[in-house]
Symmetry: C2
Subunit: 315 residues, 2 copies
């Protein structure tokens, strides 16, 4: 069975089609030769630059029409409306991105393709990918933090993705400023949130160069680890996750992982008694096991879950 997945971002739309073995719906199945993960083989993917909604979505619909997909999953940049009882369910909501506010993502693909469409935030998609096949496989609770152009946090707990009233916005938790930081911050809403102080654009604007040109400047990464660790400490205290997956462009700077882990232990200061924190923090705060693919595999999983729900309703 073919299922489509979209990782819908503000700069690009990654669209893919996967072959899904029926066993993958039910339970643990083994990965067969040639599959990307157990039960799943990604057959094709394209990256479409995000321009205005009409032409971008038109191109995406045309792509999927070439395949006989049975369902589609979308992990989408936000904020989005995840409330199925809402009139704007499946829409991107109040984004400042020109043209995209109140764009009906689910409706567009449901109408054009006449198939079930699963929908969630991009980071919830990514955590779902890692919980299903990756570093958090088998966990009942896990978070996925991406630190790139922005900061996002996907949350899986009590056996499902966390929505709540809107959806979590952990990328904007408030931090204490580093005493040496005089940079004004990059978030138009919050003076001192993790996105405004530690996302890629903040690093670049504060230090006057791209992150990858700053790798040898110790003070850059000490300040960065100081901010990331504060946020991760708050996530540990709020969610008590079984696994923390940390990724995004900024986290490709190798020295950040050990620095952030060390600083998290320092901030928790022995308060959370658990071997994962106290002895195995290298296995607790980790990069994704799915490489650069947690988002797209998560989107495919969203499509699978929506297909299951739809089949149950039909039955």
């Amino acid at each position: 069975m073919l299922i489509g997945g979209i990782e819908a971002g503000g700069t690009k739309m990654v669209c893919s089609v996967a072959n899904v073995r029926v066993e993958a719906f039910f339970a643990d199945c083994r990965r067969e030769e040639g599959e990307d993960v157990a039960g799943i083989k990604i057959l094709d993917r394209i990256s479409i630059p995000t321009r205005q909604p009409e032409e971008t979505l038109g191109e995406m619909v045309a792509y999927f029409k070439k395949w006989e997909i049975q369902a589609l999953g979308i992990g989408c940049f936000g904020p989005v409306d995840l409330n199925k009882k809402s009139a704007t369910y499946g829409h991107i909501t109040s984004t400042p991105k020109p043209g995209w506010a109140y764009c009906d993502m689910v409706g567009t693909f449901e109408k054009a393709l006449d198939i079930p469409v699963g929908f969630d935030t991009d980071v919830n998609g990514a955590v779902l990918g890692e919980v299903t096949w990756g570093a958090a496989k088998g966990c009942d609770s896990a978070i996925y933090i991406t630190i790139g152009t922005g900061v996002g946090v996907g949350v899986y707990c009590n056996g499902g993705l966390l929505h709540g009233m809107v959806h979590p916005e952990g990328g904007h938790v408030l931090l204490t400023r580093h005493p040496k930081d005089t940079y004004k911050g990059h978030c138009p809403f919050h003076e001192n949130c993790i996105e405004g102080l530690a996302a890629g654009p903040a690093v670049e604007e504060r230090w006057g160069d791209k992150a990858y040109n700053l790798v040898d400047r110790k003070e850059v990464w000490e300040m960065e680890a100081y901010y990331i660790a504060q946020a991760v400490t708050d996530y540990i205290l709020c969610y008590s996750p079984e696994k923390i997956i940390l990724w995004g462009g900024v986290m490709h700077v190798q020295q950040l992982f050990p620095m952030a882990r060390e600083k998290v232990k320092e901030l928790l200061n022995g308060y959370v008694h658990h071997p994962m924190v106290e002895e195995n923090i290298n296995q607790y705060i980790v990069p994704p096991a799915l490489g650069e693919d947690p988002g797209i595999l998560g989107a495919i999983r969203l499509g699978m879950l929506e297909y299951e729900r739809w089949s149950e309703e039909e039955a």
Copy 2:
């Protein structure tokens, strides 16, 4: 049917026995005359001072033995072990409270009374009470924050109480210090957490008097609201709860609610678009609807849920 409930605290153990109508197990039932909440009438309660475990628990067991209870629920001070697969499930774990570290709460009552025993943190019990019968009735997600001797946060999401790896410890999220605050903080683990800066003992130590003697000092409550609002803002961003219940001794100071709500709006600064935040924050951040009883009613509900699980396993 009689069900017992315990609100197990560091200073007192509130034990109670309720009559539970069978309808209360299944679905929405109406409150009948004489009932405290729908389906529940609290028949008796006592408060036992918390001394050493042996004598305290002995007295509690003796109390419940006088009644023919079918199940018991315990909302317990922590940290506690909530993992049913763990060897220390149902124990209080690393508490500094003399004598109580690794005290087997569930085992004690299971052995003495030979009935199913439900167990969770005190604040998870309280949020469950409010979700079942109180201010968060019908919500799929809600949090209960108590600001008293300490700070605790109970979390209900995705249709269940949040545990995760250990259990949430939102009472220790890290805050930015008020520029005028020179007080060292009251938490032995964290220099700047909500419990250390805003719980009752911190207020008393910082200002040199009990909270209720400080009600007219504006600067006290401005600083207090500054801290509470930072934490609540982080909880909104992390959990996206449908309802926030705020209580505990400190919150009995009337002016704190409007001050904290105003400051939360200021800190979110329009980022979370939802009428509950933007227009109805008075209905969003609220005291409990169950008065001083969310904890004890939540404990009874924990007993009911454990009885249901046990009945299903027996069937």
